[in-house]
Symmetry: C2
Subunit: 151 residues, 2 copies
């Protein structure tokens, strides 16, 4: 969503973003409220209002976004009990905990190395590959132009 905002010239309303993401405007506001708290986006009310990126693409990593979203757990697995009395469970938690921590650390360290700028570069490369010449990219019809027509 942030990258689409980056391509778009001017603020985007929750309504417009909800249309792109095929969801409800309030859901968008809820999500972006978190990002605003971390200074990633900026919002304005009233006429001509909407959402705008507040930082340079180069300075925002997926990890920053992860944190802004509340650092939700990245693993689908977890301990059944955090501090079990059962010694078997303690042994299991200990061994699996190390594995969990290592996997999570690896994932987040990679997130730290993926900037919005790098994603944007990849995006523009894909645009060129498709031979898309249109400047229509910074228009509201954005989403519809680039989709394969699925849906």
């Amino acid at each position: 969503m942030l990258l689409h905002m980056a391509e778009f010239d001017g603020p985007l309303t929750s309504d417009a973003l909800a249309g792109m993401m095929q969801t409800n405007p309030v859901v968008i506001r809820r999500i972006l409220a978190g990002l605003r708290k971390e200074g990633l986006v900026h919002s304005e009310k009233g006429h001509g209002g909407g959402w705008r990126l507040a930082k340079d693409l180069e300075s925002v990593t997926l990890y920053d976004i992860h944190l802004a979203l509340g650092a939700p757990g990245v693993l689908a697995l977890g301990h059944r009990t955090e501090a079990p009395g059962c010694l078997v469970e303690q042994a299991v938690n200990s061994a699996m905990g190390e594995a969990f921590d290592a996997a999570e650390a690896l994932l987040l360290s990679q997130f730290q190395q993926i900037t919005l700028a790098s994603l944007s570069r990849d995006f523009h490369q894909r645009l060129d590959q498709r031979g898309i010449t249109q400047q229509a990219l910074s228009e509201a019809a954005h989403m519809r132009n680039c989709s394969d027509g699925d849906d």
Copy 2:
């Protein structure tokens, strides 16, 4: 659960296991049915029936169990669309997909190196540390003996 079965001399019923795990017997049967299909456990009906380990502790890894449980996804994150038309999303999927794959591969590779035997050794070490001499471990009251009394 498998490790508790390993400590216990004789078959354990779904009822007993459900008591240990604080859940319903049918849930236990459903889970163990998957493990039986992969030859990890064996079940017998009727009097004196129940569940028993079918393999050596040394030969079973957490990865084996993971597979037997149907190899559920280990990550809480995933792609919004698998093959999106949107080029931004393609770029995001590509970058995040690599990170996902690496993290998942790391986690599963660690699972492959954790055997039930290694967990059992850790368990017995913890037993010793606690100075538990009782052979009551292979009795039905097992769960209650070792818990800290929480719940």
